[in-house]
């Protein structure tokens, strides 16, 4: 059984067919890339998978169970987490708090315990504080824990996006252009971190990316989208030499 599966997934926006008959499979511990020219519908796929959009037809299954019609927070709790193309951090919250929000679903103390400061509150908050800082260490950002998210430099904001999604304990992580705006050194670091995350947290990763060096280096498989259609799939080597892919990017 695949971890994530879509079959004939389609969505239409009032006459515009944004996605047609998409068929992708992701297995655990895979790093898969979703590429294609701008406007091909890649982020739309993410929005469908996370419940932000409702498909007009087709199937989506996580570990065999259909996730169509589920609300975004339910899908996240089932195991899909994502980052956003235009960073959507909680700007006026601290870096640590951004991560703690993700940990909310796995915390247990209720409103009464919170409001009357019962022992369960103190215990869990301390645990969560330590855990949040541990997440920050993945990118070496522990020292930024108490800064406001909006004050971080762009590159670190992108990293925080990833950490925040990771902290929701997903089974599969959807990264939307994680390397956007990064220089070659940061991109290299990102590649290592993505591999490390996959190994350490034992998850699958599906990423949308335009940076071909990142894509070719790190993805084990690729899906290529153009105008809402899947035009090719395969290993990076196969895709690199695929004439349809080349013409899609270069135009014919």
């Amino acid at each position: 059984m695949h971890l994530l599966l879509t079959k004939d997934l389609s969505i239409e926006f009032g006459g515009l067919q944004a996605l047609k008959d998409l068929h992708i499979e992701i297995n655990n511990r895979e790093i898969v890339g979703l590429i294609g020219p701008n406007g091909a519908g890649k982020t739309t796929v993410f929005n469908l998978l996370t419940g932000v959009y409702l498909p007009t037809s087709g199937a989506m299954r996580l570990e065999g169970n259909s996730i169509i019609g589920k609300k975004p927070f339910e899908i996240n709790r089932s195991g899909i987490a994502r980052t956003f193309q235009n960073i959507r951090l909680f700007k006026n919250m601290t870096v640590a708090d951004n991560i703690k929000v993700s940990m909310h679903q796995n915390m247990k103390y209720n409103t009464f315990s919170a409001m009357f400061r019962l022992p369960s509150y103190w215990k869990e908050e301390k645990k969560v504080d330590i855990k949040a800082r541990e997440f920050l260490e993945i990118f070496g950002m522990e020292d930024k824990a108490d800064q406001l998210a909006c004050n971080l430099p762009y590159g670190q904001q992108r990293k925080l996006e990833i950490l925040r999604a990771l902290a929701t304990k997903p089974k599969i992580l959807l990264l939307d252009e994680p390397a956007a705006g990064m220089n070659p050194t940061e991109t290299q670091e990102l590649m290592e971190v993505i591999r490390r995350i996959r190994d350490q947290f034992n998850i699958a990763i599906l990423l949308i990316e335009h940076d071909m060096s990142l894509v070719m280096n790190i993805c084990e498989r690729l899906y290529v989208l153009d105008y809402g259609h899947l035009i090719a799939q395969g290993t990076p080597e196969e895709i690199r030499t695929n004439p349809q892919v080349i013409s899609a990017y270069l135009g014919s």
């Binding site: 982020t43 929005n47 932000v52 956003f84």
Partner: protein, 293 residues
């Protein structure tokens, strides 16, 4: 036959709603703001006519253009002083809302202090015989309302679709950044929109005072709220929507008053608002705008 009469009367009432609704819808279309203070422009219009005709004893052909100009000016002033800064700095929606509320409260209380809280009687503005159509007799006010509103709407349509500034208004409401890049002075376009909307409200005030010759500082509240419901009903941001919503609401109100109960009419109007907002917030002619993720 009575039924037909109620419909026509409803159209007459709806004309006023439609004119005011246009102001709401145009401002919302261009800056995505519900101008809470718009209803109070009607009040300003009413009091200006009162001031000019009753207090100063000047003739109506002076009062009409004067009140229209003053209202247009007030609308522009409000935008310039209270909203412009927030719009330019892309302030949070909640700030604009609060400011709009502040302006509304300010206008009402200012006029209350200047003119007193007691209602003032107005003289009849446009004298005319009841209009006879076969066996029908229509009140002159109803006919005047409908005719004037239709003329205003034709004029507005021409303005928006055929003139340069009208096209600039459409462009700014679609995408103000792109409009700026095309060389459109969006600030001026926005001012103009407020001016037109307020001018229409002034005309509505004239029609209203002609139909119900009494003004008070809070008159903008209920009328403004109903016109707002009309705008949302028809589809906020859509000019034809505002017209449609206005007339429809007037007819619904007239029929409710006739066949259900007078005391419940306001509740029915408010009920319509709640239902539309929950069922189809874009209104009859509006488009659903989804947030891009």
């Amino acid at each position: 036959m009575d039924f037909f009469n109620h419909i026509i009367n409803g159209l007459g009432l709806g004309s006023i709603y439609a004119l005011v609704a246009l102001g709401y819808t145009m401002v919302y279309g261009i800056v995505k703001l519900i101008n809470f203070a718009h209803g109070d422009i009607i009040m300003v219009g009413g009091y200006m006519v009162y001031l000019i005709m009753v207090k100063w004893g000047l003739p109506i052909w002076l009062a009409v253009p004067a009140s229209i100009v003053i209202c247009a000016f007030t609308g522009m002033l409000v935008e310039r002083v209270a909203y412009r800064r927030l719009l330019v700095h892309n302030a949070a929606r909640i700030s604009l809302l609060i400011t709009a509320m502040g302006v509304s409260i300010f206008l009402q209380n200012a006029f209350m202090l200047i003119f007193g809280t007691d209602p003032k009687s107005m003289p009849p503005l446009f004298q005319a015989e009841p209009f006879k159509l076969g066996s029908f007799e229509l009140a002159s006010t109803t006919v005047i309302n409908i005719v004037v509103s239709v003329i205003m709407m034709i004029g507005l349509n021409l303005l928006v679709n055929k003139t340069k500034i009208g096209k600039a208004m459409i462009a700014t409401s679609e995408d103000s950044s792109a409009a700026k890049l095309m060389g459109i002075n969006t600030n001026r376009v926005i001012s103009f929109t407020f001016a037109i909307g307020s001018a229409l409200a002034a005309v509505a005030a004239l029609l209203y005072c002609n139909t119900y010759p009494q003004i008070k500082p809070s008159m903008g509240n209920l009328l403004g709220l109903k016109a707002f419901v009309a705008a949302v009903f028809g589809g906020i941001g859509s000019i034809p929507g505002a017209m449609l919503g206005g007339y429809l609401l007037g007819v619904i109100e007239s029929l409710t008053k006739a066949y259900v109960s007078t005391t419940l009419t306001d509740a029915v109007v408010f009920g319509i608002l709640i239902i539309i907002l929950l069922v189809k917030p874009a209104g009859i002619l509006g488009k659903n705008r989804k947030e891009k993720v």
